[in-house]
């Protein structure tokens, strides 16, 4: 029944549901070996249920059908009909992956046969797993006597929770509270928070009593083993407590524990999105590396990028926006008033006073606009945890399949970045993590032989440094072998023997970023890495990010990614060459130095400068665009950092910094390499914005690059 335009709405919501599902399943997975928390199971069930209903409404039969199978198995799980066994959890994890793939395919990718096959074998596995043992005993709820009228409003799940409490000998209470219609949701939330430490709130029943229009009564059905007096004291002044059952619940009849399985030693993580350092050891365990018990773990992972082009925004941030706009309106009113005064004063105004007032308003305007800009940027910000969660899930599985013993540490998930950047980061980060696992961390026996702990460590950390964010992917593995890197680079014709002789270790490491470095199979034999790092570099460069490698033989490798907080509005350095001005994105500027012409050197017919012991190409901006060169007794050199490369850009003058919004160019200028677009400065002057990436490519064109 869905009109075609609704597809994107479906995809957006299904994607949100799936993300919640995936997150909760990751938490469940991390708790293997323990009895799952009822609330968590129910949340997962609800997500699968929503996805089924939603995809059904939009005619997405494939998704709906698989979600249905998943829902059945989760329903059985939350109702205690089956146990959370390893095969079951593996199948649920696989289910989330396949659903993600299917949604991607529904959103535009062509449906693949592989996905279909995986779905079919999953459906079979789910059907097998869901038909576990039946509980089927006399209903304990009949024994304790619950008012049938009350019982009739419970869902099957709520009844199950009641039963579980009765079986454990936990007494059932009816906690009654009357709240104002205005704020009952907050008051109920507070009451729930009070009750939660004492037991389980099974259901919240709105009551038609007392019946006036301003207030509403609720009965909270509450299971608690605490004495009545304690519960009464906790809710004193807010609610009254009465027994729900006619007969008291008999004290705990000992019954076998629900999850009689071997305790899994590897699970310490309770919440993957925890902003603090959360860590859990991952090991291949007993599930083997080639086939999982349920036989459903196979195929490639879906890309981790989210499908939705939307940002969910905290309402508080929108309020801040609205406030600022309100204040802007006040400023406008004041300016109007001033204009009116000026108009009425006619030929004899009070220019000085008037100008002062106008200046005051102008300053207020500037402040508010700054606030507005900040608030809009805030709206675009999302926590990195969104991507880290997904990466953590993937890593758990990859580690399990790799047969290596790896401790994966994640921290800094609370650091926020522009939504666009966060999305673009997931693939490069996945690449780096995969490399760390495949080529960085050694097999346990080799680690032991080297006197290292058998368990390797891979770290993913993020921290905010001013208006930049630094993300680090590190391992304590073998480190990169520069001899091999040199050899490979020469074999591939990426660098000459002579050229590599002159390179320092740091520069040698940078060779792994060259396209073509890692196209052959034997690259995986490198004790370091090198799988498709040029792709990582390209992705990062698009985000105005920098990437640095720090690798020590035998000790490990660290990739440090430095990213701007946002790309929407950037701060730019305005420079001048002759009578022309250009804007250089400040993200790419690492420092500015002043160089005398005598300090320039020439290597292989190219000018270079020495900055802090590092030799950098020296590029005269005037020459790049064929402008007249001024004769300077010193050059201002803007040191540009781009991905892993650095170079110095010589300009005639520095004019200051401005916030700019880059607008694309049309017409003939569009084809000029090295220009990203144009922007208008505060004085309404249009200037060209440099595209440092393209500039660098231009620069390298005539000869083969080495670092």
């Amino acid at each position: 029944m869905a009109p075609p335009r609704a597809l994107s709405e479906f995809v957006a919501e299904a994607n949100e549901v799936l993300e919640t599902l995936a997150h909760d399943v990751a938490v469940l997975d991390a708790q293997r070996g323990r009895e799952p928390e009822p609330e968590l199971l129910n949340a997962i069930f609800r997500a699968a249920h929503s996805l089924k209903g939603l995809s059904g409404m939009f005619g997405q039969e494939r998704i709906s059908s698989l979600a249905h199978h998943l829902e059945d198995v989760l329903d059985a799980l939350r109702l205690g009909k089956v146990l959370a066994s390893d095969p079951l959890l593996d199948a649920i994890l696989e289910g989330v992956d396949v659903l993600t793939l299917m949604l991607r395919e529904a959103a535009g990718d062509a449906p693949s046969e592989d996905t279909g096959r995986r779905a079919a074998s999953l459906a079979e596995a789910f059907a097998r797993l869901a038909s576990g043992g039946q509980v089927g005993a006399a209903d304990v709820l009949d024994e304790v006597g619950i008012d049938p009228a009350v019982r009739s409003v419970f869902t099957e799940y709520e009844e199950h929770r009641l039963r579980e409490n009765v079986k454990k000998g936990v007494a059932l209470w009816k906690v009654r509270a009357v709240f104002s219609l205005e704020d009952f949701d907050q008051r109920l939330a507070a009451l729930n928070a009070t009750l939660k430490p004492l037991g389980e709130v099974i259901s919240t029943l709105p009551s038609s009593q007392p019946g006036d229009d301003a207030s509403i009564a609720f009965d909270l059905i509450f299971g608690s083993a605490r004495p009545l007096a304690e519960i009464e004291q906790a809710v004193a002044g807010v609610a009254t407590v009465a027994q729900l059952t006619e007969k008291p619940v008999p004290p705990s009849a000992p019954r076998p524990e629900a999850a009689p399985r071997k305790p899994a030693p590897r699970l310490e993580l309770s919440d993957v999105s925890s902003p603090e350092l959360s860590a859990w050891p991952l090991s291949s365990g007993s599930s083997g590396t080639t086939s999982s018990p349920s036989g459903v773990m196979q195929g490639a992972e879906p890309s981790l990028r989210s499908l939705a082009q939307t940002v969910r925004v905290d309402i508080g941030r929108l309020d801040a926006l609205m406030n600022t706009i309100g204040e802007l309106l006040t400023v406008r009113a004041n300016i109007n008033r001033l204009a009116e005064v000026a108009r009425q004063a006619g030929a004899t105004p009070l220019p000085k006073l008037w100008a002062q007032e106008l200046q005051k308003e102008s300053r207020a305007l500037e402040r508010r606009l700054d606030e507005l800009q900040g608030a809009v940027l805030d709206v675009r910000m999302v926590p990195l945890g969104q991507v880290f969660d997904k990466l953590a899930r993937l890593m758990r599985r990859l580690v399990r399949q790799s047969g290596k013993d790896v401790h994966f540490e994640v921290s800094g998930g609370d650091v926020e970045l522009d939504k666009l950047i966060v999305e673009e980061l997931s693939d490069p980060l996945m690449h780096l993590l995969r490399n760390a696992l495949d080529h960085g961390v050694e097999a346990p026996d080799r680690r032991i032989a080297q006197g290292k702990d058998a368990r390797g460590v891979i770290r993913l950390t993020a921290q905010q440094l001013g208006n930049k964010v630094q993300i680090e992917v590190g391992d304590d593995g073998a480190g990169m072998d520069e001899t091999r890197i040199r050899q490979v680079a020469i074999e591939r014709g990426l660098a000459t023997h002579e050229a590599t002789e002159e390179l320092e270790r740091r520069e040698l490491l940078n060779l792994v970023f060259l396209p073509g470095f890692s196209t052959r199979k034997d690259v995986s034999e490198l004790s370091g890495r090198g799988v498709g790092l040029d792709v990582v570099k390209t992705n990062l460069a698009r985000l105005s990010g920098l990437i640095d490698i720090d690798s020590r033989r035998g000790e490990g490798t660290r990739f440090v990614l430095t990213l701007p907080l946002t790309l929407a509005i950037i701060r730019a350095l305005i420079v001048a060459v002759g009578d022309r001005s250009f804007a250089v994105p400040l993200n790419s500027v690492t420092e500015i130095v002043s160089v005398k012409p005598a300090e320039l050197r020439t290597i292989e017919r190219r000018e270079v400068i020495e900055v802090r012991g590092q030799t950098l190409p020296f590029v005269r901006l005037a020459r790049v665009f064929g402008l007249r060169e001024a004769t300077n007794d010193r050059h201002f050199v803007v040191i540009i950092g781009f991905a892993q490369e650095r170079f110095g850009l010589a300009v005639d003058a520095l004019l200051g910094q401005e916030d700019i919004v880059t607008k694309p160019l049309g017409g003939r200028l569009k084809a000029v390499p090295g220009i990203a677009g144009a922007t208008e400065l505060g004085d309404r002057r249009a200037v060209l914005v440099l595209d440092v990436g393209a500039l660098l490519e231009e620069l390298k064109r005539p000869q083969v690059a080495v670092g």
Binding site: A2, L54, M57, S208
Partner: protein, 119 residues
Amino acid sequence: MLIVEDSRATRELLAAAVEIVEGVEVYTAVSGFEALKVLPRHRFSLIITDINMPDINGLELINFVKKNPNYRDVPLFIVTTEGREQDRDRGLQLGAAEYLVKPFQSELLTALVRRYLKL
């Protein structure tokens, strides 16, 4: 009329299906709590509610409506998904007039709305 449904996309579909009926003014609530808040403020001619919702479930909402003298006579439809027959049966016992199983044809919903509103 009031549509209570926590899924945004489904809510829009439901609303679109009933809005083509002339003379129907549609209000939507994203949760049971929101429905409780909006109920005293308008006289609704019909309520359509989902069963599986995060705060209070649809059955509890039906019970609340049917026990309350102010709303008792408002016809109420439940929207369920396949496989939850027990919840559906309880909804009907509590006084729901009709049920729809997702996925359903929008024409069916439109026809039911017309019949109950005598339009």
